[in-house]
């Protein structure tokens, strides 16, 4: 029994929570709002979301939050510890680490979003097609997926970057190439369950084409699993990008990529710990944020828990 939560709620809230929506838009928005409320009820998910939002804001407002160029060197200010003037200290070339971390957030976010945008649709398309049609198509697609899955992610990314050359764009491509298989698997598994459902049978009986069924009926239901998976995977993607950066194969200096910063700070780890540790902490915090958000999203989106 769905009871309306707030009969006396302010105008727009009552509109969203209405028992009998009057239009498609109202129904859609109302459903999203309820999901939002569920997410809010989970404190850890809120923490995760706060971190992710902070990262987004950091990236968008980097020039405002850390004015000045992240490339500006001052060799007289090398390796200074954190102070009022340099909040996170300076690195081996006298660059302000705080500024580099904030601007580095943009790099991280770019890599992560680009990978997600490539990987999720590709995985979804391949997985649902394989699951729905079965037979030879399924075998071919899944064995291809298996081949990609067989390689450890970082090693395969290394191989691609080595072949394509270092740089952010190639790092993104390399990571995307290694990250898509699990999404295909997840989408396929969901599709296999859904394929025999009565509501799919019903739309088949209406004469819908397979393409229509896949895009409008099957994929929306697989979307939740994929979104959850992507969010949880973000941490892994960040770490892989950082790993590539650490090995000098991702973003090239002087771009302030966090992994590259950790790498170049290695030699100073004992005496000037801040150079490597602070970017490391940034990686950790952002990965944690995405993980928590992903867990929270799973509680909201997982149909089995609805």
């Amino acid at each position: 029994m769905s009871a309306s939560l707030d009969a006396q709620a302010p105008g727009w809230r009552a509109w969203l929570l209405a028992q009998a929506p009057q239009s498609r838009l109202q129904a859609r928005l109302g459903s999203l709002y309820l999901g939002w409320l569920l997410l809010l009820a989970n404190p850890l998910a809120l923490v995760g979301m706060a971190i992710v939002v902070a990262l987004l804001l950091l990236a968008i407002f980097a020039p405002l939050l850390a004015p000045g160029s992240p490339y500006a060197q001052d060799l007289t200010q090398r390796l200074l510890p954190p102070s009022a003037e340099h909040w996170f200290g300076t690195d081996e070339l006298g660059r302000d680490i705080y500024r580099r971390v904030v601007h580095g957030g943009r790099v991280t976010l770019t890599i992560v979003l680009l990978v997600a945008i490539i990987v999720a649709p590709v995985g979804l398309a391949i997985g649902t097609a394989a699951g729905y049609f079965g037979g030879l198509l399924d075998t071919v697609l899944m064995r291809t997926t298996d081949i990609f899955l067989a390689f450890p992610r970082l090693i395969l990314a290394l191989a691609f970057v080595a072949a394509l050359g270092p740089g952010i764009e190639n790092a993104v491509i390399a990571i995307a190439l290694t990250a898509w298989p699990p999404y295909a698997r997840v989408a396929r598994a969901e599709t296999l369950t859904l394929r025999e459902s009565d509501f799919i049978s019903a739309v088949r009986l209406q004469g819908a084409s397979s393409l229509r069924i896949l895009i409008r009926h099957v994929m929306p239901l697989c979307l939740s699993s994929v979104i959850i998976r992507v969010t949880l995977d973000m941490a892994g993607i960040i770490l892989t990008a950082a790993g590539l950066g650490f090995l000098g194969l991702g973003a090239q200096p002087p771009i302030p990529e966090w992994g590259a910063m950790v790498s170049s700070g290695r030699s100073f780890l004992l005496d000037q710990w801040w150079v490597a540790t602070i970017p490391g902490i940034a990686i950790f915090v952002v990965s944690l944020g995405f993980n928590l958000l992903g867990d929270g999203l799973r509680d909201v989106l997982d149909p089995k828990q609805r």
Binding site: S2, Q19, L205, Q206, P220
Partner: protein, 264 residues
């Protein structure tokens, strides 16, 4: 009985699942015919093959042998779009037959979009009124509806394409007793108003007797008897299995059950 051609004609229908040593004959050489405007019942228990027959007739099942003729046209396993406008199906489980993320409006507009039918808005409103739901239901999601309401939506969805033949797979088995009566009454009214022909599959003899004129009794994939509802009511079934079903539908009888238990 007029001599006009039956609107649905099934001859020698056979369905085999699996292959080799594990092959299971779900349906064996089934024959039955349904005249236009008639409601035909298929009665049987689990494993009898009755639902498989519906899936073959509807076009959901592709691997069958025999002949299926609808409105004078012989049907191949893959059906045409025109066929789907002619024959529609209502499923058993109201909790599984509606897409969980689509509103009622979407569920009803989809078939109209596929068949490019006009005045979708008006048709949707009329379909809802036809099944006894008012417009406040139009933009709700399935999880906001009760079992009976969902089944009404499923019936509206089946009828929105204006089919001539309805296939009903245990339409009230998953519903409460009091809701069952409402849905059965609704189906009878819609039958009168739209002149529908139907095949009703059920394990419940009382429901079949209430809704249909003739029925076929299936056991282990075969039709063991075909009779009219009058014959059933006169307690004149010939086949022992039919008699068993009839007496079981009357409730528990200590004496009869004791005999059955002995043979368990």
């Amino acid at each position: 009985m007029t001599e006009t051609r039956p609107i649905l004609s099934v001859r020698g229908l056979s369905v085999v699942f699996g292959s080799g040593a594990e092959a299971v004959e779900a349906v064996r050489q089934l024959d039955f015919h349904v005249a236009e405007g008639e409601w035909y019942g298929l009665v049987g228990e689990s494993g009898s093959g009755k639902s498989t027959v519906l899936r073959a007739v509807s076009g959901l099942l592709l691997h069958w042998s025999g002949a299926i003729e609808v409105a004078g046209q012989s049907q191949a396993p893959r059906r045409s779009r025109a066929f789907h406008k002619l024959v529609q199906m209502v499923f058993q489980d109201p909790y599984a037959s509606l897409h969980p993320r689509h509103t009622v409006d979407r569920a009803l507009s989809e078939p109209l979009a596929i068949h490019r039918m006009e005045s979708a808005d008006r048709r949707i409103e009329r379909a809802l009124i036809d099944v006894g739901l008012d417009s406040s239901f139009r933009y709700r999601f399935p999880h906001q509806l009760s079992g009976g309401q969902r089944q009404r939506v499923a019936i509206a969805r089946a009828l929105i394409l204006e089919p001539r033949i309805l296939l009903l797979d245990e339409p009230t088995s998953a519903l409460d007793v009091s809701v069952q009566a409402e849905i059965l009454n609704l189906l009878r009214r819609l039958r009168r108003e739209h002149g529908l022909t139907a095949v009703l599959v059920s394990h419940n003899l009382a429901v079949v007797a209430h809704m249909c004129e003739r029925l076929g009794v299936m056991q282990n994939g075969e039709m063991v008897e075909e009779l009219t509802v009058e014959q059933l009511r006169a307690a004149a079934p010939q086949h022992p299995y039919t008699r068993e079903l009839l007496s079981a539908s009357a409730g528990y009888d200590r004496r009869m059950a004791a005999e059955l238990a002995e043979t368990a």
